[in-house]
Amino acid sequence: MNNIAALFKARKGIGFVVHPSVFSGARTGIKVKSERTEALGLCVSGCRSLSSLAELPEMHQMMRQTCRDYADRELGPIAGKLDKEHLFPGQQVRELGAMGVMAVEVPEELGGAGMDYLAYSLAVEEISRGCGSTGCVVSVNNSLYIGPILKFGTQKQKEQWITPFTTGEKVGCFALSEPGNGSDAGAASTLARQEGEEWVLNGTKAWITNSWDASATVIFATTDKSLKHKGISAFLVPMPHPGLSLGKKEDKLGIRATSTANLILEDCRIPLGNMLGPRGSGFKIAMQTLDSGRIGIASQALGIAQAALDCAADYAHKRTAFGNPIGKLQAIQFKLADMAVAVESARLLTWKAAMLKDAKKPFTKEAAMAKLAASEAATFCGHQSIQVLGGMGYVTDMPAERHYRDARITEIYEGTSEIQRLVIAGQLLKEYAP
């Protein structure tokens, strides 16, 4: 413990304090194992000086402010309507595209904003604070559709499948889940067989976000059943396309402005050049994509949580009961405090995961922690926000009920909270392996 504390003090530029219980093995003063030192080193030397967690770089602050202004002025006023009428925010997506928000990480030569993942996380959070559905569209396009193509595509594929999707004119989607398997992604029953110069795809994908509004999809199908999850490959399919049809739009609890439906493939033919990455690497591509996607969803959850907190805190000032604004009552104060702590801690986890990714350091555990913490913070804040508003929280006049409904999905998609716990435990146990 003392050794670790000394190590900490010697490093300059650390702007926050890690609770000693993190270094549990060092409690008894025994020598620190090499893996743990590595984990520590990651924490201490970090990528950027972690004091930047206290204050973001100027460019990121400006970017955050721009997105916040956009969300306040253009999304906030229409979010209720988008939700009620299940309307896809096409106009807003185009405007966000013009701002560069639909392709934050994409290099400028391909039409993107050329910024880092921390900037992307901030953008998604602010957009989601205005409208959870729009935040979802932004996140799916950036992380799930563009993400894998940017990482695994050929230059030609990038130009063909990324550039038109940076402007907001077109959005993409990600088709991994099937009616028969969600968390069990290795059991993909969608099949792809080669016939001459074409791949022929057959099967059904379920719960595909953006499906009805997308112009292309990254889709996963089994090319070699005997190889189990090493026999899955990724493909790029334009939409609409012969052989690809959409199921009916799901009637969802929340994020209702996005379209979610089945993708049905019946002898859907695509050129051989439409395979993304090497044959059999589909599962790896999916898992790596979801790793980064988690940071996007964590950011979306943060935005929704923050919106719920904003709503409750504002109400606490205005609503009077027993002769005073309810903000004076401890019962309300404790709720607001708990909400604020939940949001802020999830936010720091999210920023850390993003910064680790930007520094090209391993970030799987941190991304899973961020998504878990943020999604649970979102549902917690959504719930408590309604409680603070009382009866007003239950009706559509106030946005609290929408935040409650929008928050729920963040604990489910892109890896359920249960899966996140498995991922975290897996990484943790590896660190402690004897």
Binding site: M59, M63, T66, D72, M99, G100, G114, A119
Partner: protein
């Protein structure tokens, strides 16, 4: 944007500590107009200028992110800043306009904190330049500028020679959101720093603020049934 304004306990002004400052909305419109003129290739370079303490550079950065080429920060802080008003600012702008050989100065018609609506007009007077104020439409035509002005009676169209001063009114344009790539580019653009003394401007104010008070709380109104009742009530409280 939705900060509550509070008067300082000593009534010398409003509380500005900890209040987030952002670009004056009419100045945003002015910046947008300048950037649009540059995009139409009617002007060569847009320089964003602001006078004030260090925080002002954030606002200049925002202007750069909207498309201005470079910035100038005229540093004014402390007592000088508290006493700074349209006269001092217009002297600074006039000096800079001469130094930079500007052909157009575009500013917001008024600042929403003091609502003075004087800086543009004073700057033009100091430079002896024509002015097109309350502009809702600006068209450059060779060496002249056609300005449609919003006046109480409607719209007035004037044609003035450059160099000129223009002040932007609400309907001139809708300011753009800075795009992410432009925010990145703004980081590399230069902001020059100088003091009023470097421009030979004295910051002594000719105006002294005696007292600042909040507006009186609005009292509830009274509804009356007939005109006779109204007249009677107005007589009773001494209004007529």
């Amino acid at each position: 944007e939705n900060t509550k304004i509070r008067v300082k306990p000593d009534h010398s002004g409003v509380v500005t500590d900890g209040v987030k400052h952002s670009m004056n909305p009419f100045c945003e419109i002015a910046v947008e107009e300048a950037v649009k003129l540059k995009e139409k290739k009617l002007i060569k370079e847009v320089v964003a200028v602001s006078c004030g303490p260090t925080q002002v550079t954030e606002t200049i950065r925002t202007a750069l992110a909207m498309g201005c080429d470079r910035g100038i920060h005229v540093e004014v802080s402390g007592k000088d800043y508290e006493a700074m008003g349209p006269l001092q600012i217009s002297k600074i702008f006039a000096a800079l306009a001469k130094k930079e050989e500007a052909s157009l100065i575009i500013l917001g018609k008024q600042a929403i904190d003091d609502d003075c609506n004087q800086t543009g007009q004073m700057t033009a007077a100091l430079l002896d330049w024509p002015q097109g104020t309350f502009a809702s439409e600006v068209t450059i035509d060779g060496e002249k500028v056609k300005v449609v002005r919003e006046i109480d009676g409607g719209l007035e169209t004037i044609k003035i020679s450059m160099p000129a001063v223009l002040t932007a009114d609400l309907r001139l344009n809708t300011p753009r959101y800075a795009t992410l790539p432009n925010i990145m580019k703004a980081k590399k653009k230069k902001i020059a720093n100088m003091k009023p003394a470097d421009l030979g401007v004295d910051m002594v104010s000719r105006v002294e603020v005696l007292r600042v008070d909040e507006p009186p709380t609005r009292l509830a109104g009274v509804k009356v049934e007939t005109v006779d009742d109204l007249v009677a009530k107005l007589r009773a409280n001494g209004t007529i």
